[in-house]
Amino acid sequence: MNKLPVVWNKKVNPVDYPGFTKRKVKPITWEDLENQFHTIALRHLKIEKIDSSSTQSFPKCRVVNIKETLDLYTKIYDFGRVIAPMWSFIVAENFREVVDEIARRKLYISNIVGYVPTCIPSSLYWAEYKPPLEVHEYLLEKLGHRFIGWENGEQDGRYVAGYAKMFCPAPLTRRQAYKYFMEYFHRLCNDLQNYLVSQSTLTFPHYFAHMGNHRLLGAEIGARLCVPLLFAFLRGAGKQYGILWFCDISLWNHWGYFDPDREENVEFKEKNHRYMAGPTAGLSLSLLRRLWYLGVMYDCVMIGLGEKGHLSHKKTTIRAIKGEPRKVPALTAIGKLQLEGMNWVRRHPNRGTMYTPIALILDFYTGWTPPRHYYPWGGEPYMVWGNMPYQKGDHQIDLFFREIFPGYENCSYYRDERGILTPTPYGDIFDVLLSNVPDFVLNRYNAVVMLGEIHLKGDVLEKIRKFVEAGGSLVVFANQLQEDADDLLGIRLLKSTRECDHAILTSENLVLREPTYTMHKMKIIDANINVLAITRHREPLVTCKKHTSDGEVLVFAADYGLSDRLAFKKPIFNECERPLPSPYQILEHVRALLLPWLRNFNLIKIIGPPIQFLTSVTEDPTRLLVTLCNNDVLPWFGYIRIKRAKIARAVNWMTDKSLQGGSYISIKVPPHDIVILELHADRPIVRFKEE
């Protein structure tokens, strides 16, 4: 019988990270959150202009109906305890009264919204505003830990879409590109008192965490970027830097936003962009629902749903308030969804920790973004940092993600919502870390895949060596090797390359035809090494060294595991409703050996058509949670099996009904729906890692 996998099952606890007490701006802690999961209850405080002819920079204004609004959103309807207001309330003449009332009710203020570079603050809306120190200090004094921070919202997207290319000259190196990126964010964070909450829409949360002035990391999810991909970055950043994370679900896609309060879609025009708002515009309700539950199971500490629209502006209902019937706005579909989700969370408090045993390590300066995204929509494909063309290593990252999140690159380019959520044929089990990850974080993982323009040398090599000695496994590509590491790899590079067009899988003696690729010649120096693939001339293509620690090291000789650049008749353009070809191809032998190897790290086996699934581990080694998210138009029928054990009992958390246990359970997930299951194995299926 195989040994039980040793897995990490603890939530990120910022307080436990080295240097926490010395940090000037401390990440929000579980204690700050009162050990609770939170939801954003309210975003728009009602502000009335009193005198627009004011000689000051802002029109004179005040927040009206404070108590009534807070009552409506946090008491009559309990949408949560977090207020994420538009920034303009800080210039209201009754600002202090608003803060006092929020403090009295022990509510939180987070994500103070609305910072947009270049826009005048007197608009009281999108604005390049700068909160005065006394305002910031008042929020801290009155709310204490319940003031989470000013919002750095969607700014990574804004930088890439609107500012990255303005640098002259464009960066020559990634280090320079990073410096440019940081210049933008230092400017922005300085304006916002260096006390921030990020809301990423691209793959840069690590850099915000690295700045040391962000208290909570977040992502705006929806049609901006493939959600499992975005979370792989967000979780990775949170775990690497010891900062908790949240998500805010946007109702928007490129063509408009979901507004269930309207009878039919209405068209709007803003600048040169036309968009729709209505019940069938923007993101579909079924997608919003899946995103909500996924956000919870992705270990978010807070979720926001939609920029507006929990309550109807048109319909009312009667609610008993303090025993008296009172007419109040009726719930919209969004409001109902949020209350349903919150109720579900209350019913299932022990949700464990998402199981992500595999770390994808990218170079610190990578600046990698998907080949196409929302910033700008329809923009030039294949760029990093918004101002550098992809190199081959970036294509490797892209093609790797196309395998683990098939179709992820289509997110926001199709009206049918494909690519926002994807199946996960190898499990949703990956976090993205950067090469400066500390040892103690890395050691929480079971395997590392090195991706992109990164080199195994110096500190990174030492870190990886210790990781493998402690039982971790490694996947590395020959072109990423820069120093001899014979003991670690079992091979040595011969520092020469050659072209190749085939591979032979040794276990089956199966010959695979490949597009032309460049292989790095390697010499085997460890007699016990397992050669998994060779050429016709018996040159090693893939080797596996099993260490005494149980860690395995796989080395792929093919340059990045990819073909050479493919010849296309036409240049690649980024077009709506059309796939985006890659100029490279992942090699068949790499796919055949690497991907099943990754799948082995799952604790469960899913038998059935491709589906998005993720697993959460708990404090009990026999108890798992499995989330199945069907993003297809057809119902999903399949089976779940726990590896190394039988299912003693199971509960469907969506219906709270028990399911028949056994070797496997059979499950149906309706189209565009999500099912979360609690599984109890008949014996322990994991052991837990300790620091």
Partner: protein
Amino acid sequence: MTIISINRWLFTNFPIRRLTRILSEIGFNAIELAARDILKGSCKSLESLRKCLDMYGLEVSAINAVTSFVPYIHGSISSKIPWRREKFLRLLENIIEKMTILGCTRLIISPGRQAENYQTLDEAWRATVKSLRHLGKYAMQYHVEILLEPMPFRTPFIYSRNILRFINEVAQLNVHAAIDTGHVRLAGESLKSAMKNLGDLLRYVHLSNVRIEPGRPLLDEHRPLYDGSISPDEYKTLLSEIGDIPLAINIVTSEDPIICARKCLRLVRECHPIVS
């Protein structure tokens, strides 16, 4: 003698004393400095820089604020936020004052960008004109010329025709135009038409190359003159008609900068009737 200079930031790790000797040996008679370097430098360090340049017969062809300052991040003369715009103008004034220490009389700036919201094109235009008038007046006291250069991604004033209109509207004797060959090409203009548009108002030319290929992102790369989409023939056409307008090679490379500078200068000499 036509001024032929090269940008300082091509040689990032070279101490200035060594660099001046090298540039003089290669055949340059001037160097272009970034505005940020001037801001950082104390009066004393700028004086010693000037002495060093004098020793090798080099002058400072211009101070380039375009490379140093990105709209919003560092400031913009087109900003609608009054205090931000004024703060940026103070910074440019400071640079103008320091330029006198170096004996430099040209400051290169760019317009844009328009605010993301709540600023009409006309408002952006007015703010830019106002800033230019102010700077022009201020620079006049120090005998400094303001050179306005179109920048490809700092929308919307990215064409030579926009620059021409600005200069005509500002109507000050010391506000003129500069172009960068790479920027002109990125904006989709031909070098010839940009030159024709600006006519006598063109007082300074940056030489750089760009690679424009279908399916490849457009980037302000400042490639060496021999490595990009602008052909030697196009440089030849431009330079043969340019007279003795100061030229500044404005490039970056990951190769050896000295070899690169030599090759670029050779190309300019082959194309330019006076410099050769």
